[in-house]
């Protein structure tokens, strides 16, 4: 692997890995809290938020995108609560209605607005543009030490790195309260932990991960990474710490394997075009989850009645 790899594959793979990890980390806790659907909802709701933010500001800069996505998430939460209370239906159904409707609204907005001069369209929203995040100035591994070449790194890479690092640090710092309030909310409240605040912070963290990753890799990877690596990891271990480490490892594996398979898999099979890296990464994570369901050592525990 030489200059070609550094120029065309290194940065997309790194961005894919960082996006996968940033989503998988909060995904572990969302799954254990039976809130996996929230990750799905957030990644859908991000689209209309980003489109509206673009229409208002005319740029695709990170801060307006984040604010737009955050505002959309807020609107979604209010709508979900309103539908749940006024309609008297269960939260999962309310969530499903709201996020698909908002996502559809985002698609319509996107089609009707003039986004031709920026890279913002439905395909991008779903698949991202991972393959285009290349590092043209790189001339080989030595460029990693060359400040001039480093300055032309795709901005998605440092942005995603900062977000992934931030989420990792937050997970480490708040490990005990997160674990405690996820396992036993009543007890956590009784010893004075701010349980509602912890739950809200977790959702906000997931939103930040979704927005940052959405821009680089699209919503398909985001949805898959919130659920597949943590769910597969749960089947491989009975310890929360090991589960989180496994989810990081499986997220990385999905990103690398998915990128390579998307780029070279079809060629190996005799086709002439490569396929979408985002789609392949998500597919690989799904296959890993499927394998874990079949061979995971702790698969029998899932769904077993208490005391059985």
């Amino acid at each position: 692997m030489g200059a070609d790899f550094v120029q065309f594959s290194l940065t997309p793979i790194l961005i894919g890995i960082l996006a996968a990890i940033a989503c998988a980390l909060p995904g572990n806790f969302l799954i254990l809290r039976r809130q996996a659907l929230i990750g799905d909802a957030i990644s859908h709701v991000v689209l209309p938020g980003i489109v509206v933010a673009f229409l208002v500001t005319g740029t695709v800069a990170a801060i307006p995108m984040l604010l737009g996505a955050g505002a959309a998430a807020l609107v979604a939460v209010v709508l979900i609560e309103a539908i749940r209370r006024l309609g008297g239906i269960e939260p999962g159904a309310a969530m499903g209605v709201v996020f698909t409707a908002l996502f559809a609204g985002g698609v319509l907005l996107l089609e009707q607005s003039d986004t031709s001069r920026v890279h913002l369209d439905v395909e991008h929203a779903l698949m991202g543009n991972l393959e285009t995040l290349i590092w043209l100035r790189a001339e080989g591994w030595g460029s990693l030490l060359d400040p001039v070449a480093l300055a032309s790194l795709p901005p998605e890479l440092p942005r995603m790195a900062v977000v992934a690092a931030l989420i990792a640090v937050l997970t480490l710092i708040f490990w005990r309260p997160l674990k405690l309030s996820t396992f036993d909310e009543g007890f956590a409240r009784a010893i004075g932990l701010p349980v509602s605040l912890i739950g809200l912070a977790l959702v906000i963290t997931a939103t930040v991960a979704a927005v940052a990753a959405f821009d680089a890799v699209g919503s398909i990877i985001v949805i898959a990474m919130f659920i597949c690596p943590p769910a597969a990891a749960r089947l491989l271990t009975n310890s929360l710490a090991a589960q989180v480490w496994w989810s990081v490892a499986l997220a990385m594996l999905s990103a690398i394997l998915g990128y390579v398979l998307a780029g070279y898999g079809p060629l190996w099979l005799g086709f002439s075009n490569s396929v979408s890296a985002a789609g392949m990464i998500a597919t690989v994570s799904g296959v890993i989850l499927g394998l874990a369901c079949v061979v995971g050592p702790y698969r029998r525990r899932v769904g077993v009645a208490v005391g059985a």
Binding site: L32, F183, D184, G192, N238, L240, A242, Q243
Partner: protein, 270 residues
């Protein structure tokens, strides 16, 4: 029917009185509502220190709600709660709460010793390492509930009775003065029920206070010193011998207890 019944809700002597600073849990005018229905209405209660108290009432009477509201786990509409004369938030180190066993997911990826160590969170905080002394304390709590061999066991592998013992061990690890238990005997085997009641009586002997939501009327007289009867409103409160009477139960349960059941209970009480 004896007419000497003390009915707190009908304007008993305590209504309107200030909180009792000696009481481990004192409620004044506690009102909780779910939607527009009151779950508890203007409840006064003064649980005695150094005693075992039972909270008794029919299903849906607000027994668990009373515990949760008293500990600040759910929002209240109005009312005042004191723990040893202090607001609950200032007394968290003195309270050990044992939630209903079924309220958590026992498939959670963790071990028995980890759950018991959760009882040490207020001492450990975010970062402090689990010292050998802390671990020894948790293992000792497990030994006191007869679970010393289970420290590294996955919690999903425990039976219902073992789960309840682990929850109790976590409460013991908190080293509190007031133990608040929500249906500690629900769905546990006879041996566990015996072990738990012996342990709770041991706590009482050390001067600790125990308050439990209890639903087996047949064992009230054998297990508890003090009863608090509730059905949305406070119905009666006092020592088991004088308060746990067929008349008070009939009033609390309405028509929901068969007359023969009440007669049997009357026999148990005497």
């Amino acid at each position: 029917m004896p007419s000497t019944l003390t009915l707190a809700a009908s304007g008993g002597a305590q209504t309107g009185a200030g909180p009792d600073p000696a009481s481990p849990l004192c409620l004044r005018g506690l009102t909780v509502s779910y939607g527009d229905k009151p779950a508890l209405f203007s409840v006064d209660a003064t649980f005695p220190a150094g005693a075992m108290s039972a909270i008794i009432g029919p299903n849906g009477a607000g027994k668990s709600t009373l515990l949760k509201a008293a500990l600040g786990l759910i929002p209240t509409v109005s009312g005042q709660v004191t723990v040893y004369g202090q607001p609950v938030a200032a007394a968290r180190d003195r309270i050990a709460y044992v939630p209903q066993r079924a309220s958590v997911d026992w498939d959670f990826p963790t071990t028995v010793i980890d759950v018991v160590l959760m009882g040490r969170y207020r001492k450990l905080g975010l970062f402090r390492r689990v010292s050998r002394a802390e671990r020894a304390l948790a293992l000792d709590a497990l030994a006191r509930v007869g679970m010393e061999g289970f420290a590294d066991r996955q919690i999903g592998q425990l039976s219902g009775g073992q789960q309840q013992r682990v929850f109790l061990a976590r409460a013991l690890a908190q080293d509190a003065d007031l133990y608040v238990l929500d249906e500690p005997f629900a769905g546990v085997d006879a041996a566990t029920e015996r072990a738990i009641i012996d342990l709770l009586k041991g706590l009482k002997a050390q001067g600790k206070s125990v308050i439990a939501v209890h639903h087996d009327l047949a064992t009230v007289a054998g297990y508890f010193d003090h009863v608090f009867l509730v059905n949305v409103r406070a119905m009666a409160e006092g020592p088991v011998e004088t308060t746990f009477t067929p008349a008070a139960l009939a009033q609390t349960y309405g028509g929901r207890l068969a007359a023969t059941h009440l007669d049997q209970l009357a026999l148990t009480v005497r």
